[in-house]
């Protein structure tokens, strides 16, 4: 515009009145002026605020959509219609934002002159709503694979003949019919994650993914990246259930963020968690933030011990390699072991034993030696006949007197001194115990 003979501050030479620059400067609409050579000649304050670019830095920028052009230059480039001298409007992605998040509607008003062309007056309207990103669908075989994989997580995995087990199952079935956050309590290896998967597979969220977050094995920044960063696993509604393993080990600030996320309406996901101790104990121990406990431990469900689940053994054997079952002797061995690592340990043992069995039903000799020995000790008679105390004391006394006499070369006075008694008492005890000079030598 400066080339067209305007005066200072945007006022045409010799023409009094309001400067066009100050007029444009006060409007809240982002405006810009391009010269006939498509160079940026002027931007107003609203434009600077929108783009974050000061006018001094962008003045002279050639606005075109060539390969080497910046995103800003491409966004402000006149359309072919505008180049032809006609007003036009175009929607373009805003520069310096993630693709598909914010768009600009850019309007171009050509400024024709009696002899030639001054340039264009442009304005920008920000389109607030997010444009739908172009997402390719996941391959069909992946969906089939997921469906096949999730089929194994069925209720029959947990079913048994025990009444305690039935009550527990009823509780879980009810939990599957709701969206209430579930907290599973059980020792390590007791099958908390598998139980959570089964509940997920039976819930209305089963079409979404089951995402298990190992809070103990993952660094907090990796969990933050997984749950809070752009492109996180909770975006797009792909996740059906989010299961947090031992969330009490997380730093308190991350626990606070998770508690806020649980209450956030922008996230639609079923929450589950699992730990060895009840959440209340974890709160009292200062490990778990009360806010997170309140958000996640709405329905705490303790898992029954392995001892109460032996009726599930045949189902587990099917899953872990031996559908032919187990004989009674082997079952007795299995039941006698305390299983400190629960189902995880049982699975290891059954897997290995099934390999030894080589297609035969599981027998006692297929089980590890440690288990068999433990079972033998457990089944040994517990009644032990103890010798009488007098007999034990007399035996000890006799041996001590004999030792003292030997050490003192059968000098009875010296032996009595060594034993800390008088000689007469030594003689009396020797007589009572049947010790003579001959049989002590």
């Amino acid at each position: 515009m400066a080339e067209t003979g305007e005066g200072k501050r945007g006022r045409p030479a010799g023409r009094p009145g309001l400067s066009w620059r100050s007029f444009f400067q006060q409007t809240t609409r982002p405006l810009f002026v391009l010269s006939a050579t498509r160079r940026l000649r002027y931007v107003n304050a609203a434009w600077e605020a929108l783009t974050g670019q000061p006018a001094e830095q962008v003045r002279g920028l050639v606005c075109s959509r060539r390969r080497h052009s910046t995103a800003l230059a491409a966004a402000l480039a006149p359309t072919p219609e505008a180049l032809a001298g006609r007003p036009d409007r175009v929607r373009r992605p805003a520069p310096q934002t993630r693709p598909g998040t914010v768009w600009w509607d850019v309007s171009f008003l050509p400024l024709p002159a009696p002899e030639g062309f001054y340039g264009w007056l442009g304005s920008i309207d920000v389109i607030g709503e997010k444009a739908a990103p172009v997402v390719r669908k996941l391959p069909v075989f992946l969906a089939e694979l997921r469906a096949r994989h999730n089929q194994q997580f069925q209720w029959d995995w947990l079913e048994g003949d025990d009444i305690q087990l039935e009550l527990w199952l009823t509780q879980l079935r009810q939990a599957a019919g709701t969206e209430v956050p579930l907290w599973l309590i059980g020792p390590t290896g007791s099958g908390k994650e598998t139980t959570a998967r089964i509940v997920h597979a039976a819930s209305s969220r089963r079409h979404g993914a089951f995402v298990a977050v190992d809070c103990m094995g993952l660094q907090p920044y990796l969990i933050e990246s997984l749950l809070f960063a752009p492109g996180n696993v909770l975006e797009g509604g792909h996740t059906g259930t989010l299961y947090l393993k031992s969330p009490q080990v997380l730093p308190r600030d991350l626990q606070q963020r998770l508690a806020e996320l649980c209450h956030s309406r922008s996230v639609s996901v079923r929450w589950m968690a699992g730990s060895e101790q009840p959440p209340l104990e974890l709160v009292q121990a200062g490990q778990l933030l009360p806010e997170l406990a309140t958000a996640l431990a709405v329905w705490p469900v303790p898992l029954p011990p392995l001892a109460a689940r032996w009726s599930c053994l045949h189902r587990w054997l099917e899953l872990w390699g031996n559908p032919l079952g187990v004989d009674e002797a082997a079952l007795a061995v299995l039941q006698s072991w305390p299983w400190p690592r629960n189902l995880r340990e049982l699975r290891q043992v059954l897997r290995e034993a099934s390999q030894h069995a080589a297609g035969q039903p599981l027998r006692r000799e297929h089980l590890p030696l440690t288990l068999r020995l433990h079972a033998e000790h457990a089944s040994a008679p517990t009644e032990v006949t103890l010798p009488s105390l007098d007999t034990v004391l007399q035996t000890v006394e006799k041996q001590m007197i004999q030792l003292a006499l030997r050490l003192c070369r059968h000098n009875q006075t010296a032996a009595a001194e060594r034993l800390g008694i008088l000689r007469n008492r030594l003689l009396r005890r020797m007589e009572a115990l049947g010790l003579t000079a001959s049989n002590t030598q």
């Binding site: 993630r98 693709p99 598909g100 990103p133 172009v134 997402v135 390719r136 996941l138 391959p139 075989f141 992946l142 694979l145 997921r146 096949r148 994989h149 999730n150 194994q152 390590t188 290896g189 994650e193 598998t194 979404g208 993914a209 089951f210 995402v211 298990a212 190992d214 103990m216 094995g217 993952l218 660094q219 920044y221 990796l222 997984l226 752009p230 492109g231 996180n232 696993v233 909770l234 975006e235 797009g236 792909h238 996740t239 400190p340 690592r341 995880r344 340990e345 290891q348 043992v349 897997r351 290995e352 390999q355 590890p368 030696l369 440690t370 288990l371 068999r372």
Partner: protein
Amino acid sequence: MRLPQVIVWEADGWMARQLRELAAEHRWLLRPVRSAQRIHQLLSPPDVCAVCLIQFEPWADRREPLELIAQLHRSQPDVAVVAVSDVKLSEAERSAWTAALFDLGARYVLFPPLTRPVLEDLVSGLMLAVIRRTVGVDPALTSAASQPAGGLGHSSAAASDHKDDHEPIDLVDEDEP
């Protein structure tokens, strides 16, 4: 218990090179492999502690890595599987793939930028958690997590007798075609 293993199934050996020092420091076996069958062989002992890194290619019609992740989750739920891709995806695609792979049983899914510190943090954290769960002891409390611990009736002497097992193997793949 046998020595913990870091199993890497990838095309170019980049991840194995990044993890070489970490494995040597902790005395873990680094196992670069070229086939799913080899991974099954390595994981066939019942009490093995392992972290398995599997490279996958989104959109490529290569089902084997994804099927392997699901198989491992079914047969070896204690093995921590990390799915790694070197393909850059949009945020929405990344979210969809991450959810799908977690659903198959992956413990974590990594997309670019892939850096050595992230790989090391991921593998070391998951390995210590796997050892804690499988062996039942906290590796931080023991002098070396890789020292064989007593298993259920399985002699640990076999592991200690073989001094070669204590040496991190060379990155040259043993099942090189």
